[in-house]
Amino acid sequence: MRADDPCLKQMKPPELSLADRFFLPQIAVGLGVTARHIAGVMFRNKAITVQYPDEKHVPSPVYRGVHRLNRDEKGRVKCVACMLCATACPAHCIDIVGATAPETWPDREKYPESFVIDELRCIYCGMCEEACPVEAIELTGLYDLTGLSREQMIFDKAKLLSVFDATSNQEPMKYGKPPERALGSPTTELAPG
C-alpha cells in the first residue's frame, strides 16, 4: 500500500496522565471491570460455564460426533458396500468387506458383510458422510464417547447400527429419504469398488 493511502490508520501510543502514572486510579478501573463481571454472574445469571454431567451442551444439528449406520424402512442396513466412504476417509479408519446381497434384497447387488470404524483413528471430518451416495453413514450429535479399552472403541456393524437405533428418534436422517430412482435402478453405477 502507498504511504498516503486513506485506509491507513496510524496507531499512537497512549498518553498517560499523571493520575495514570500513579497506578491507583487504574487499579480502581480494573477492579471495577472485575466487580461488574462478578455481579453479572451472581445476580444476573451471566455465568458461562455449564455444570457438565447435570447440564449438557446441546450440539448443533450438523454436529460431527460418533458415526451411525442408517437402516432403511425394512430395518436392513442401507449401505451398499460401494467403498466411497473408505476411499474418502483421510484417516483410513473405515474397513468394509462387501458381499453379494441376499436374494431377498432385490434392490441392490452388494451389502457390507462387515463394516468396522476405528473411532480412535477417526478425525471426525465428516467426509464419509459427504461421500456416501445412499446416506447410509452419518455422524451423530453424540460427543461424549468414552471407552475402557482400544477394542471397545473399534465399532463393528452391529454397534454402528445400535447407534442408529439409539439416536434415530432425536436425530432424523440429515437429507431425508432419497428418491426411489436413486435407490432402485442405477445399481450399475453403485458398484465400482
Binding site: M1, R2, A3, D5, C7, L8, K9, Q10, M11, P13, P14, L16, D20, R21, F23, Q26, V29, G30, G32, V33, T34, H37, I48, P59, S60, V62, Y63, R64, L84, T87, A88, P90, I123, Y124, C125, G126, M127, E130, A131, P133, E135, L139, Y175, P178, P179, R181, A182, P186, E189, P192, G193
Partner: protein
C-alpha cells in the same frame, strides 16, 4: 531503552565462563507450544538467543502429497490451530487458482466472514496470552470467553468446534443458515464489550505498558530484510496488507482500515492487533449485510466441486461427478502446473506453493508459514534484553509451533 548491550563486542571463547546457557522450553508454560530457545546469558541480559525448531514436526507437508485436494483440508486445519478457517481459505484459494474454479458470490462472502472470525480469534488469543504472560490474567479470560463464542459459530456452521474443515474445492461443506448468522452477529456484539473490558484493563495499565514499550524493537528495514508480514511488519511501519495490495475474494468491495505503527516494539504489535480486530468486526458486519443469496457451491459444470446430495441423487451428471471426485483414478484431470497463492492470515502472509502432476493429489505442497519467518527474527529482537522480556517478545510475535514445523 536497553540497546546499549548491542554495542558490546561478541563474547570470545576464552571468556566463555562469563556467560551461561539456559534452555527456554521446549516445555515451558510461557512458550504456549513446544518451541525451544537456547539462551546465552550474561547475568540476566541475553547475549544470544538461538531458536530451535522441530519439536512438533508432524509431516503435514508430506501428507499433502497423499491426500487429495479436499481431504488435505483436514490437515491444514491443524497447522495454525488458533485460526483454522484461515488455513482452509488459504489452501483452497491456492487449489482454486490452480484449477481455475470461479467461486459463487455467496461463497466468497462466507469465506470472508470465516476468515475474519478466525482473525479475531487469533488476535484474541495472541493479545490475551501476551497479557497473561505479563501477569494481566483477567484480560486473557475475557478474550478466551469470546473465543468460545467463535467456536460456537464454527460448530453451528460446520459441526465441529476446533477443526471445522469447512471449505471444499469450489465451495463449502454446508451453507450458512440463519442460526449461524445470528451467532456471528452475537460474536460481533459481544466483541464490543470484550474490547471495552480489555481496553480498560490494559490500554492505560502502566505496568503493562512499561513491559511492552521499547522492548523488542524491529526496525522497518529489518522487517523488510527478514520478509516479515502481517501485524509484525505493519507495527514496524511496513504498510503491506494482501487484502489491499493483492485483493482476493471480495475484499475490494469492503470498507476497512489497515492499522500500522512506526514504533516497531511489542506495544506497537499489540496495538495493531487490537485495532485489526475492530476492523475485522466492521468487515463482518458489512459482509452480513451484503451477503447475496444463491448457490454456495460453484456450478456442476466447473467439474471440481462435489455436487450436493439432491444433484447426486437426481441427475446422472451429478452422480458421475460425485464418483469421479471421490474415487481416485477415474480419469479426472487437473492442470500440470504450479501456483503460488497467498492470503493475509492473522500473523501475516500465509501462502501455498502447489505443484500438480495432473492427478487429484498435489505432487508437492509447500507452505509459507508466517510463524517460521517471524521466529527467525526473534534472536534479533531479544538481544540485549532481560530474561523477563522473552515472554513479552514471544507473546507479541504469536509463534504457532505446529505451523512452524509442519
Amino acid at each position: 531503552m536497553a540497546a546499549n548491550v548491542l554495542d558490546e563486542p561478541e563474547v570470545e571463547h576464552e571468556i566463555q565462563d562469563a556467560t551461561w546457557t539456559l534452555n527456554f522450553g521446549p516445555q515451558h508454560p510461557a512458550t504456549h507450544t513446544t518451541l525451544r530457545i537456547v539462551l546465552e546469558l550474561d547475568g540476566e541480559r541475553i547475549v544470544k538467543a538461538t531458536p530451535d525448531i522441530g519439536y512438533l514436526h508432524s509431516g503435514f507437508e508430506k501428507l499433502g502429497e497423499h491426500l487429495n485436494f479436499n481431504q488435505y483440508v483436514t490437515i491444514v486445519d491443524r497447522k495454525n490451530y488458533i485460526s483454522p478457517p484461515m488455513n482452509e481459505v488459504a489452501w483452497h484459494n491456492a487449489v482454486e487458482t490452480l484449477l481455475g474454479v470461479e467461486l459463487t458470490p455467496r461463497c466468497k462472502y462466507i469465506r470472508v466472514i470465516i476468515s475474519e472470525l478466525a482473525r479475531i480469534s487469533d488476535h484474541l488469543l495472541c493479545t490475551g496470552a501476551a497479557a497473561l504472560d505479563l501477569g494481566a490474567f483477567t484480560a486473557f479470560l475475557f478474550a478466551f470467553n469470546l473465543r468460545e463464542q467463535i467456536y460456537d459459530v464454527y460448530e453451528e456452521m460446520s459441526g465441529y468446534r476446533f477443526h471445522p474443515g469447512y471449505t471444499r474445492v469450489g465451495g463449502l461443506l454446508y451453507d450458512f443458515n440463519d442460526r449461524v448468522l445470528d451467532r456471528v452477529r452475537g460474536v460481533v456484539k459481544s466483541f464490543q464489550n470484550v474490547y471495552a473490558d480489555m481496553e480498560k484493563l490494559l490500554f492505560k495499565n502502566r505496568i503493562f505498558l512499561d513491559r511492552l514499550r521499547g522492548v523488542g524493537v524491529l526496525s522497518r528495514e529489518e522487517a523488510i530484510a527478514h520478509s516479515c508480514t502481517g501485524p509484525i511488519a505493519r507495527a514496524s511501519g511496513v504498510t503491506y496488507d494482501l487484502r489491499k495490495d493483492k485483493p482476493y475474494l471480495v475484499y475490494p468491495e469492503l470498507d476497512f482500515d489497515v492499522p500500522y505503527c512506526t514504533d516497531g516494539d511489542c506495544w506497537a504489535r499489540f496495538a495493531v492487533r487490537m485495532e485489526e480486530m475492530r476492523q475485522s468486526c466492521r468487515i463482518i458486519m458489512q459482509c452480513i449485510e451484503k451477503l447475496p443469496s444463491g448457490p454456495f457451491n460453484a456450478p456442476i459444470a466447473e467439474k471440481f466441486p462435489i455436487p450436493d446430495k439432491a444433484t447426486t441423487y437426481n441427475s446422472m451428471e451429478g452422480l458421475i461427478q460425485h464418483f469421479e471426485l471421490i474415487m481416485p483414478n477415474r480419469g479426472l484431470e487437473t492442470p500440470h502446473d504450479e501456483v503460488y497463492a497467498a492470503i493475509e492470515s492473522p500473523n501475516g502472509e500465509l501462502g501455498y506453493y502447489l505443484v500438480s502432476d495432473g492427478s487429484q493429489t498435489a505432487w508437492r505442497v509447500r507452505t509459507r508459514p508466517p510463524s517460521f519467518i517471524h521466529f527467525s527474527v526473534f534472536p534479533l529482537l531479544i538481544k540485549g534484553h532481560l530474561i523477563a522480556d522473552i515472554v513479552a517478545v514471544l507473546g507479541s510475535l504469536s509463534i504457532i509451533a505446529a505451523e512452524l514445523d509442519r
